[in-house]
Each structure stands twice: as C-alpha cells, then as structure tokens.
C-alpha cells in the first residue's frame, strides 16, 4: 500500500494526482481507467480541501491499495474534519435544461458513475471514503 499525507488545500491537487498516477504506473492500468480515476480523485480531494476543515485547514491522507485484490485498485481518503457523508447527497437531476441546472453535487455524482464501488464511513474521528475500480473494463 502507498500512502500520502498532505495539507487539505486545493494547491496540493497536482501533488495528489502525481502520487496517484505514479503509483498506478506500476500496475497495468488502461489510459481511460486512469483518466476516470484522476477525475474521481480530483473531485474527492477538492471536496475535502473546500469543506472538511472550513474555515480552517487540516490534513488529508490518501492510501492506494493495488495488491489486495488483483486487477482492482482501491483508494482511500481520510480527513479529520467535519463529519460529512458525500454519498448521502441526492443525485443531481441531469435532465434539467441549462437555466435550471445547478452544478452542486455533480462532482460526487461523476465519482459514483465512473467507479465500481464507493463507500463512506465515519470512524475514529475520521471521514473515510474509499473508491474501487476494476482495471479491466
């Protein structure tokens, strides 16, 4: 398992994505899957950076597990901020016209749609969000 602990601020997004991409270089990850994982990581990390410790700041931990299940990658995000279950939010209505559309909730919706599994728990004073993605189709 690879682990990165970093300040939960937007400026660290590129660092987080570089960590994810370099870790996934070692496994056979199709480019399209890597693209979907990058988007999911961005949406989740930016959410943590924007809301978890607001108005203060804190740490986020990202753990990548590529060996526990062959052909599957699991990425866990931990923060010690305000308890918040992003999965509890209602999915946006994607059938509305431009004028009626709101952008809120779209990021986590994209995560739910593109990952094979998304789990949230609050445990030991931490928000723990885990995404799983099968690397083969």
């Amino acid at each position: 398992m690879k682990r990165l602990e970093t300040g939960a601020v937007r400026d660290n997004l590129s660092k987080v994505l570089a960590f994810v991409d370099s870790t996934l270089e070692d496994v056979d990850c199709p480019l399209k899957t890597l693209y979907q994982i990058d988007i999911a990581v961005e949406e989740i990390f930016v959410n943590i950076a924007s809301y978890a410790y607001s108005p203060g700041t804190g740490k986020a931990v990202i753990e990548i597990e590529t060996e526990a299940e062959p052909g599957c990658v699991a990425i866990t995000f931990r923060d010690s901020g305000i308890p918040y279950d992003p999965l509890a939010k209602e999915d946006p209505d994607i059938t509305l016209c431009a004028e009626e559309r709101e952008i809120g909730g779209l990021g986590i919706f994209m995560v739910k749609k593109s990952m094979d599994d998304v789990k949230y728990e609050y445990s030991g004073g931490q928000n723990i969000l885990t995404i799983r993605k099968n690397l083969k189709g």
């Binding site: 937007r10 997004l13 590129s14 399209k32 693209y35 990058d38 988007i39 961005e42 949406e43 930016v46 994607i94 059938t95 509305l96 016209c97 431009a98 004028e99 559309r101 952008i103 779209l106 990021g107 919706f109 994209m110 749609k113 593109s114």
Partner: protein
C-alpha cells in the same frame, strides 16, 4: 492549460489545450468574463483538450447560460473520454456538440 482565442466579428473561438480542472477552470472563467460582451457566437474547440472535471463543467454551464441570452454556443471536436463525461452528466442535452 493553454487558451487560444480567435475573434472574428461577433464570433469568438476558444481552443483549449490540456486539462480543464479545478486548477485551470478559474483561468478560463476569468479570460471569458471580459470577452463575451459583444459576442453572438461562442465556439469551444476541444480538439486538444485532454481532461475535464466538474470545475470545467461549471464554466461551460455558465457560458451556456450566458450565451442563451445573447446568442449561441457550440462545442467542437470533443474527444471520446470527454464526450463520455458529457453523457454521464447530462451535458449532451445542454450543450450544442458538433
């Protein structure tokens, strides 16, 4: 991300190169804000756009809302990966994709 703009009368073409994400979306938003006043047709060329996240979608939605009031907006040369994002999020119904 690189933003290439070309103005032709009341038509503005914006070609994006690279990643439209949390880091770069504010840059596009700022570039657009001062340029759209007399634009009737806004064209986004995504031939060299590699990546879009919800932060990028937010800017496109704002652009579409604004252009609905004063003209039209089209999105051209969308790569398959980005088209898939538009489909999943319902943006294929909101945007004019050529």
């Amino acid at each position: 991300m690189t933003i290439n703009k070309e103005k032709n009368g009341d038509e503005l073409t914006v070609a994006l190169e690279g990643r439209l994400d949390t880091t770069t979306a504010p840059q596009l938003e700022e570039e657009l804000s001062g340029l759209l006043d007399d634009v009737k047709k806004l064209v986004f060329d995504f031939a060299k756009l590699e990546y879009i996240s919800s932060a990028g979608l937010r800017v496109l939605l704002a652009g579409q809302k604004r252009m609905n009031k004063q003209g039209t907006m089209v999105v051209r040369n969308v790569a398959d990966e980005i088209k898939e994002i538009f489909e999943v999020t319902g943006f294929t119904e909101i945007l004019n994709i050529e």
